[in-house]
């Protein structure tokens, strides 16, 4: 399964960076959401190939269990990423209210005075 995950991770990162480099706020926002997803997938892939293993719930039953630590890390990362996404949404809204535009390149046109 790792090869599919590797390709998928690559695609996710590529898509997220592509979106991030746009000028529209919406694209940038989507880019960040995809970026968090991409990093989470990357992290979970660090636990190795899950084929033939069970979930880390120690019920009865035997057999190899998948590595639980990356899953815990990803959980933390998802929550932190969520907090950041919400903050980013609010920030974009606030900038939109002040600058009246959703185009990032229009934000940074040179202004009259040096300040």
């Amino acid at each position: 399964m790792q090869i599919e995950t590797a390709l998928l991770v690559g695609l996710l990162f590529a898509v997220s960076v592509y979106l991030l480099l746009h000028k529209s706020f919406v694209r940038i926002l989507f880019g960040f959401v995809t970026l968090t997803n991409a990093t989470n997938l990357f992290l979970i892939s660090m636990s190795g190939d899950p084929d033939g293993k069970r979930a880390p719930i120690l019920a009865e039953g035997s057999g190899p269990i998948v590595d639980p630590l990356p899953q815990a890390l990803v959980l933390t990362a998802i929550v932190i990423g969520f907090g950041l996404t919400i903050y980013l949404i609010m920030l974009l809204y606030r900038i939109f209210l002040d600058a009246k535009t959703t185009d990032a390149s229009k934000l940074f046109l040179p202004e009259a005075d040096d300040e």
Partner: protein
């Protein structure tokens, strides 16, 4: 010892306290500090006897090789006396010179600070300590030059002086460090005793010699650093008399003398020191001839004379140093006196332009007398110390058979006679121009220059008086063994003939220029280094603005691409360095595909492509959430049910929030036309994103092949039930084993909430509220001040 150095500094608080009350007379009180130092110094000199060499050492920062190490020998005692005695005279002069309205506290504190720094420099034994004090003198000079800080000229002059001396000072520091690393010590006394061949690394020795000399040249305003000195004339005249003629600029000469025993055997020394010194002598004299401002003439003549002093050390490497202290003393006496008289002229007439002055001798005979002697010494006329010192130098040059330098010196001396004559005759004799208003100076202000001039005269007429002192202050390694014997007349020899010739030619040159009305007295533009310096500084501002723009540091949309590009370059570089090690094991990757996994992966990929390709924001959002939900399923396939649950919750919440945001934005239809314009940078974006994707894929595969055989994850599985009393290992990790991380995560949520709250808080626009439509957001009442 410390008292000698620190006495002036300790007087500062006293000055700050008393100055407001005493007004300008505080100068006399201030003069007591250097007087005290001079007294202590005399006692010290007496107690150490003739040709002393005493070292005092207190550790300061031994880890870095800097200790409070002081060397008391002839040279340092001599300079110490010069600093203290001239300091006293300058303080008394300044007491009369500065009017009532100046900031006396600030002036005298800086002056005293300077004195301490100077004394520290000349008495230092440790080269790094010398550097410390050296830079401090530069700082004090900066503050004093810029004393009249509201004038543009003062500010610029101060800045020039500081930047030039700081930059050359840094070169000196590197030279010091190189010397220290080669020889293993920073102590001047030890270095003077040692020999260059003992030290390792020949390249460093030569480099250190050059760099140290650069530092000396910078401080003493030698070519090509000569331009800061005339700029420093914006300082009040007592400062010019003290710092920029008698003491601070002598530091370069002092340093050259101190490092002479170390480097004089190098061929490089002779050529560099003589070359720069004597060329500057000529150059300075040339520029002085073409200046019109009294202080500028004196400044350039100082530059020229300093060239003389430094060049003497160059010649001395071939002939032996005999009378360097005499040269310094002579210069101190007449230059200090001349600056002070120039100050008196300025004070009494308000003018410094030679072309507008004349006939002042009638109004200030005493000053004219001091000036006459000073000018005579400058020109090297007999019966003054200037004559003796010039004769000795010419004799040395003859001995060394250095005819090129001899010619340079003779030529410079001729020019010197010319402008010296101008200084005296055009100012004090002749007729007074109509527009000039003069008031007579008081006795007190004329005394210090008179004292200096008289000293120059007496010592010039009876030079034998100096023999004993000069012999007593010889320094081993620097001075020759035979006792000095000065006399006014050494017989008819080449030097006397040359001097006579110089005086005659110089006089002739003066008359020539006088006849032509000094029409060509204007320094040509290409020689105006100071203007070039200022233009350079302005150019620097412009250059830096352009550079910042070119680096895209002012264009925020470029920041992220640059970071990503850097990431790709560094990772690519790392992989390229040993690509085989990166890719090893890749061939063993299991490429068997399972249908379910592949289906989910393809769905995710398809919806991601949809996010990019679809036109409207709402459809993009749908595609995004489809991707997110399929990712959830992917997590399930990775045997991570908790993860999947969290992902669903977070995904749903995010989608709701994004929808709320999108509902406030203008419709995506309005934006579509702008999207077309984005096509320009598309290639670049594709390359960057493709690169990142490729890299990440590589990293996943790399991690798969290089995973550590003994990860700690399975240990959690073992201990989850027994120690953490839970069957869900992920839960126990989050809540128990690594619960601290979860605490941090919750804190992040708290902060994000507060941040989002803060974004929406606004203050009602206050007093000048001409705001057409208030911005939405909830308002905090800005409470009025109770």
């Amino acid at each position: 010892m410390f008292a000698v150095i620190l006495l002036p500094a300790l007087a500062v608080p006293l000055v700050l306290a008393l100055a407001p009350r005493l007004g300008q007379r505080v100068g006399y009180l201030v003069g007591a500090a250097p007087l005290g130092s001079a007294g202590l110094l005399a006692w010290l000199a007496a107690s150490t006897g003739s040709q002393p060499r005493v070292i005092l050492e207190i550790p300061w920062v031994p880890q870095l090789g800097v200790n409070l190490s002081f060397l008391i020998d002839g040279l340092s005692i001599f300079y110490g006396f010069v600093i203290c005695v001239i300091g006293v005279l300058v303080c008394w002069y300044a007491a009369e010179y500065l009017g009532r309205k100046y900031a006396h506290a600030r002036f005298y504190s800086c002056l005293l600070f300077f004195m301490t720094a100077m004394l520290g420099t000349v008495f230092s034994n440790n080269l790094l300590l010398l550097f410390v004090f050296w830079e401090l003198t530069g700082v004090a000079s900066f503050l004093l030059i810029g004393f009249f800080h509201e004038s543009d000229e003062s500010r610029r002059g101060a800045r020039q002086a500081l930047l030039v001396t700081a930059a050359t000072g840094l070169c000196m520091l590197v030279g010091i460090i190189l010397l220290g690393l080669s020889s293993g010590t920073y102590s001047l006394a030890t270095l003077a005793d040692g020999s260059l061949s003992d030290y390792k690394d020949g390249g460093w020795i030569a480099a250190s010699c050059v760099l140290l000399l650069v530092g000396a040249f910078g401080k003493s305003a030698q070519f090509p650093f000569q331009f800061w000195l005339p700029g420093a004339m914006a300082a009040p005249t007592p400062v010019s008399a003290y710092l920029h003629s008698a003491t601070m600029v002598k530091l370069g000469v002092f340093l050259t003398g101190r490092i002479f025993p170390i480097f004089h055997s190098l061929d490089l020394w002779f050529w560099l020191v003589c070359g720069v010194g004597f060329f500057t002598m000529l150059f300075g004299a040339f520029l002085a001839l073409r200046s019109n401002d009294l202080k500028a003439i004196l400044a350039y003549s100082t530059v020229s004379q300093l060239g003389f002093l430094i060049g003497a050390y160059g010649v001395g490497s071939k002939t032996g140093i005999q009378a360097d202290t005499l040269h310094v003393l002579s210069h101190v006496l007449y230059k200090g006196s001349l600056f002070m008289t120039a100050g008196i002229v300025d004070h009494c007439t308000g003018l410094r332009d030679v072309r507008k002055l004349g006939g002042l001798g009638r109004y200030m005979p005493v000053t004219a007398f001091s000036a006459a002697i000073g000018v005579a010494a400058l020109a090297g006329l007999p019966l003054t110390t200037g004559f003796i010192s010039k004769e000795l130098l010419l004799a040395d040059l003859v001995d060394a058979r250095a005819w090129v330098w001899f010619a340079l010196v003779a030529l410079s001396a001729t020019l010197t006679v010319a402008f010296a004559a101008r200084l005296f005759f055009n100012v004090f004799t002749g007729s007074k121009p109509e527009a000039l208003s003069v008031h007579r100076p008081g006795w007190a202000i004329q005394t210090p220059p008179l004292l200096l001039a008289l000293a120059a005269l007496i010592l010039g007429t009876f030079p034998g008086l100096l023999d004993g002192t000069l012999n007593a202050i010889k320094v081993a390694g620097l001075h020759g063994e035979e006792p000095i014997h000065l006399a006014l007349w050494h017989g008819f020899n080449l030097e006397v003939l040359t001097t006579a010739l110089i005086i005659v030619c110089g006089g002739g040159l003066y008359l020539l220029c006088q006849k032509s009305g000094w029409k060509r007295a204007e320094i040509p533009t290409f020689l105006r280094f100071d203007a070039a310096f200022e233009r350079g500084l302005d150019g620097l501002s412009v250059f830096s603005k352009r550079l910042t723009l070119a680096l895209r540091a002012d264009w925020p949309p470029a920041y992220l691409p640059i970071v990503i590009f850097f990431l790709l370059v560094s990772l690519a570089g790392t992989v390229a360095v040993s690509s085989s090690r990166f890719f090893e094991g890749f061939s063993a990757i299991d490429i068997s595909l399972s249908p379910l996994h592949t289906f989910v992966a393809v769905m995710i990929a398809a919806s991601l492509v949809g996010v990019i390709v679809l036109r409207r924001w709402t459809t993009q959002l749908i595609a995004l959430s489809v991707a997110g939900f399929f990712l959830t399923f992917y997590f399930v396939l990775y045997r991570a049910p908790d993860l999947a649950m969290t992902q669903i919750l977070v995904e749903s919440a995010s989608v709701v929030m994004i929808l709320l945001l999108l509902s406030r934005f203008p419709s995506s239809r309005l934006f579509r036309s702008e999207e077309k314009r984005e096509a320009k940078g598309r290639i670049f974006r594709v390359i960057l994103s493709g690169g990142v994707g490729l890299v990440m894929t590589g990293l996943v595969l790399f991690a798969d092949r290089h995973s550590h055989p003994d990860p700690i994850g399975p240990k959690y599985l073992e201990l989850s039930k027994p120690l953490a009393e839970g069957t869900n290992a992920v839960n126990t990790i989050l809540v128990d084993f690594r619960g601290f991380d979860t605490l941090g995560e919750i804190t992040v949520l708290l902060i994000a909430t507060l941040g989002a709250l803060g974004l929406m808080m606004r203050y009602k626009r206050g007093r000048a509220g001409n705001d057409p439509a208030p911005a939405p957001g909830f308002f905090l009442e800005k409470k009025r001040r109770p």
